[in-house]
Every structure is written in C-alpha cells, then in structure tokens.
Symmetry: C2
C-alpha cells in the first residue's frame, strides 16, 4: 500500500525513527533518552495525524508485529557511517 | 455536578482508587505495584467508559489539579483501620 511504502521510505532514509504519542509517558522517556545520548531521532507523533495515525499504527504492526508505542527504529550501519554509533554505544555502556 | 458527587463518593468509600487507562503502561505499572504489595485497589478504566471517560478526567482535574493518569487516591486512615497500612508501609520500605 502507499502508506506502507512511505513508512519503509521513512525508516530507510533516517538512522533513528521514533513512532510516538505526545501524551504517552513511555514515549516521552524514549525521546528524552535519545536527547541525553545526543541522538536526534525523527519523531512521528501518531496522535497528531488525525485519521492517518491509527492507519500508520496498523502498518507498523504489519511490518514489525508491534502495535504499541513507542516504536523505535535504529539503523546501526547508518549511525556507524555518520560516526554516531560508537559515541552512542559508549554512552549507553556508561548508563 | 452529579459526576463530581459520584467521584467524591467513590474516593470516600474505597481506601485505594486508581483512575487508569487500559493501554497506558504507567497505569499498568501502578496496578501491578499495588498487586505486588497485596493491596486491592478499585480500578476505574477511563477509556472503557465511552464519553463519560473524558468527562470524569475533567472532574478529577477540577478536584485534584491533575489531568493525567494514573490518578491514585489512598485513604491512609481507612487502610490503618483495616490493618492494611502497616503491611503496606513495611513492604514499600523494603523495596
Ligand atoms: N513494554 C512495551 C510497552 C508498550 C505499550 O504497552 N505501549 C502502550 C502505551 S504506553 C500502547 O501502545 N498501547 C496501545 C496504544 O496506545 O495504541 C514497551 O516498553 O514499549
Ligand atoms: N509523571 C506523571 C506522568 C503522568 C502522565 O503524563 N500521564 C499521561 C499518560 S502516561 C497522561 O495522562 N496523558 C494525558 C492523557 O492520557 O489524557 C505520573 O507519573 O503520573
Ligand atoms: S505510558 Fe501512559 S500512555 Fe504510554
């Protein structure tokens, strides 16, 4: 479907993607974690997309088996090529 | 209002009350915490009440200043009279 293709494109083009909801505390924690680690994810707030939000959530479930938020995609190869993987791993290792 | 009176009555008649949402992980954590502590709260799932859910959430905000879930009410005097306060406090102290 068109929506499925756009999700794959989003994940493909961005090293870190977080599908989130603005009022969800688990989602907030993941977003602050990345901020603390100096990583700038692409954040997609599913509750701010009107009727497309639930549709996106269904597409994510088809693609990943996960129907919950936060839904996090990390492209470690991309991060490595940007030189951002090692800093991320060492900081995570320090936590 | 009638809804406000019914909330006050609920809190008055039950030593522990949790206003919750079924799909919210913070709410789930609070419910499991009480379960681990051997306390049986009255749980009200705001997302299972149709249009009354958001209305209740507004009443709770009027009464407590808190508009988020989980919204937890503990009547320590009632728990003490039931002999449930000391076990609760000692178990919390052990965590
Ligand atoms: N253990 C999972 C919990 C995920 C979860 O239950 N998320 C909730 C929100 S906190 C959810 O997506 N519920 C269904 C929904 O909001 O559509 C995690 O850490 O990601
Ligand atoms: N720090 C607060 C966070 C409360 C919070 O932000 N709750 C969220 C859900 S996790 C909420 O109620 N958002 C607005 C809503 O769902 O109506 C707590 O621990 O209770
Ligand atoms: S933690 Fe409450 S909605 Fe996610």
């Amino acid at each position: 479907s068109r929506l499925e293709e756009s999700v794959k494109k989003t994940i493909d083009e961005n090293p870190v993607v977080v599908y989130s909801k603005t009022w969800c505390s688990y989602s907030s924690e993941v977003k602050s974690l990345f901020k603390r680690l100096g990583v700038q994810p692409l954040v997609i707030e599913l509750d701010e997309l009107g009727p497309q939000g639930p549709q996106l959530q269904k597409v994510l479930e088809r693609l990943t088996g996960q129907h919950t938020v936060p839904n996090v995609f990390i492209d470690t190869v991309k991060l490595y090529r940007k030189g951002e993987l090692e800093p991320l791993l060492s900081e995570v290792g320090n936590k």
